[in-house]
Amino acid sequence: MRHILSILIENEAGALSRVTGLFSARGYNIDSLTVQTTEDPTMSRMTIVTHGSDDIIEQITKQLNKLVEVVKVIDLNEADHIERELMLIKVRATGKERDEMKRMADIFRGRIIDVTEKSYTVELTGPGEKLDAFIKALDPATILETVRTGASGIGRGERILKI
């Protein structure tokens, strides 16, 4: 099953490689990983999307907690949460495709952030499935380039990950 883990980790050199090294050494999967410092510059927040049985997810969580630089780990799947991903997608936009592409971006509440005579670059945020759906809705031949950040997640309501 797919799980989304939120990790508070010391913002130190090498901390990221400890996390990714752990996943590869123990044969766990990383579907996506995002990381950036928080409002406290000494602390980073990492979101890892992974999959595995409940036992494996339990082990992943425990192993992450064992890393000296990891401050806290929560499995966002344990309660309601929101996740968002950002995609920048460059598409061919010529002739009648140009209008069609604009409409498609509007439908998905994307924003066109760069325009040339031949192309649009669309910025789209949302849950991963929404981005998938956008890609699916396009003619593959029109897609020139895609960049996706991977998911960032946060608990709904009062659920807060902080020290």
Binding site: I9, G14, G21, K62, Q63, K66, V68, V71
Partner: protein, 588 residues
């Protein structure tokens, strides 16, 4: 006053009460060695290979409950230490490994003797540091010692670039350390401990399974008290040997792949299992499904939450320091007076004693050929069971574990997790340094000993009078055993040809060598080696042993603990409770 980074290193070690540093100099650590030359806080032991430095520091720690310290130069010095670090990591040994690094401006430039030690060691350390600023050096040492020794202990690497050892700053060793992301648990949850006590009280066939965590966590006394208070049978794992006295009537022997008949069957057929500082690894319980095919309630006490429910689901997990948790459990049982049902327990003991009867460690003595088991038994007698014993890896290791009945924790030092050949001799050096008045024996084989034989030179330099008990069967014995069992007797590359004359070799290094070829000479040779006359000498005892001896019992990979290969006199014996319908319940 400002002092150099190198001096800070020596001062930090002084502050931590370090007595010995095991190391080998090289370009990147010359400043540190110069500082060592100028101090008398601690002694430096010059090994002959960096792997040995780490093993010696490791065994120094295992045998004394202090922190071992190794000092390596950059590049090859550091990578030579990797096997030693991994060995300590697998067995959770607190260790500080200081490695030199090329100067900070050179890092990443593929400089001479540069290796990314922080990267290389990352998967095999509890934590590691690259110190880029001399002002961080003292605080890093404080943190490193704190991390290495608390929680589940482990090795910590401090990588120090050469320029950092030259730069100067004022020295101020922190009094205390607080790391917000690192707060290992100590006390076990009282509610969980209550549940454990209740399970024990309701048990008909209770069993205690004690691992290396009880030795490292100094919980031997508490475990013994628990076992005695309730009068329940107890096994130690390979790493846990000595936690409960090997001669104690409640001790049923080691369990696992080469465990005794009674220990393995008790493990399989108990109804309440108390696991103390043990991790249900594959060499102990074999396959989880087989192990759990007889229903049992499991209490798992461990300081590392990730050890719990890793291989086996448990009913009552208790995360905490094993000494504290077992102590609390004993106190609770004393207060509440809860005890297992007396009649059921008596029946369980009757069963265990029946399992004990055939003696699964019995072997056939021979008048011509020396049996390896016999050497270990005689060693036990000659040393009154009191020697610190180190071993390498293979058949001799198992014979040592089975036949030397360890009386106390920290008496048995071996590489259980990683299984590192070449561990024994440097480990014996470290153990002897930590225990100068103890008898130290290294039980080894002709293959393992050659993996760090150069340390005979170190032993000469520092007058380290360990006794090397070489069980020389001219084979990689355990490899040969597996090839006999599973590969149709095709002994592929397991024969050790062109062996040196170990007596001459020992003598060449300035030690005493003895070659023993007859069973009747075993005891006299051991008595001489351990005599008062030779107490200050290293003696290399080369026992020419049976080439065909196998280690029994054996649980093959994929089999259950009740599917052992048994020694000849027990072949075909059923591995079930002798009577299924005892009044303490149907076991099958």
């Amino acid at each position: 006053m400002e002092i150099s980074g190198a001096e800070i290193v020596t001062r930090c070690l002084k502050e931590e009460g370090v007595e010995f540093v095991f190391g080998y100099p090289g370009g990147a650590v010359l400043e540190i060695y110069d500082a060592i030359h100028k101090q008398d806080f601690f002694k430096h032991v010059l090994v002959r290979h960096e792997q040995a430095a780490v093993h010696a520091a490791d065994a120094y720690s295992r045998s004394s409950n202090k922190v071992g310290v190794a000092l390596l130069t950059s590049g090859p010095g550091a990578t030579n230490g990797i096997t030693g670090i991994a060995t300590a990591y697998m067995d959770s040994i607190p260790l500080i490994v200081i490695s030199g690094q090329v100067g900070t401006p050179m890092i990443g430039s593929d400089a001479f003797q540069e290796v990314d030690m922080v990267g290389c060691s990352r998967p095999i350390v509890k934590h590691n540091f690259l110190v880029k600023d001399v002002r961080d050096l003292a605080a890093t040492f404080k943190k490193a010692f704190h991390i290495a020794t608390t929680g589940r202990p482990g090795p910590v690497v401090i990588d120090i670039p050469k320029d950092v050892t030259i730069h100067k700053t004022s020295f101020d060793y922190p009094k205390s350390v607080s790391i917000r992301s690192y707060n290992p648990p100590v006390k076990g949850h009282p509610g969980q401990i209550k549940k454990a006590a209740q399970l024990l009280a309701d048990a008909k066939r209770p069993f205690v399974y004690v691992g290396g965590g009880a030795v490292i966590g100094n919980a031997g006394a508490e475990v013994t008290e628990l076992v005695k208070l309730l009068n329940i049978p107890c096994t130690n794992t390979l790493m846990g040997l000595g936690a409960l006295d090997g001669t104690d009537p409640n001790f049923v022997g080691m369990l696992g792949m080469h465990g005794t008949y009674e220990a393995n069957l008790a493990m399989q057929y108990c109804d309440v299992l108390i696991a103390v500082g043990a991790r249900f690894d594959d060499r102990v319980i074999s396959v989880p499904n087989q192990f759990l095919s007889q229903a049992k309630k499991i209490v798992h006490i461990d300081i590392d939450p990730s050890s719990i429910a890793k291989r086996v689901k448990v009913d009552v997990p208790i995360v905490g320091d094993v000494k504290s948790v077992v102590g609390d459990l004993v106190n609770l049982l004393k207060e509440s007076g809860q005890r297992p049902n007396e009649k059921a327990l008596a029946g369980w003991w009757e069963q265990i004693n029946e399992w004990r009867k055939p003696n699964s460690l019995l072997y056939t003595q021979d008048t011509e050929i020396i049996k390896p088991q016999y050497v270990v038994q005689k060693l036990w007698e000659v040393t009154d069971g009191q020697a610190i014993v180190t071993s390498d890896v293979g058949q001799h290791q198992m014979f040592a574990a089975q036949y030397y009945k360890f009386r106390r924790p920290r008496q048995w030092i071996n590489s259980g997790g990683l299984g590192t050949m070449g561990f024994g001799l440097p480990a014996a050096m470290g153990a002897q340094m930590a225990n100068p008045y103890a008898q130290v024996a290294c039980i080894t084989g002709e293959a393992s000993i050659q993996m760090n034989i150069q340390e005979l030179s170190t032993c000469k330099q520092y007058h380290i009078p360990v006794k090397i008990v070489n069980l020389n069967n001219r084979y990689l014995g355990m490899v040969r055993q597996w090839q006999e069992f599973f590969y149709g007797n095709r002994y592929s590359e397991s024969y050790m040809d062109a062996l040196p004359d170990f007596v001459k070799l020992a003598e060449a290094y300035g030690h005493i060598g003895m070659k023993i070829e007859k069973p009747s000479d075993v005891e006299p040779a051991l008595r001489e080696a351990f005599s008062e006359k030779l107490k200050d000498r290293l003696v290399f005892l080369d026992f020419i042993t049976d080439q065909k001896a196998n280690v029994f019992p054996m649980v093959q990979n994929g089999k259950g603990l009740n599917q052992m290969d048994l020694p000849e006199h027990m072949r075909g014996m059923q591995q079930v409770p002798f009577e299924n319908n005892r009044d303490y319940g149907n076991l099958c």
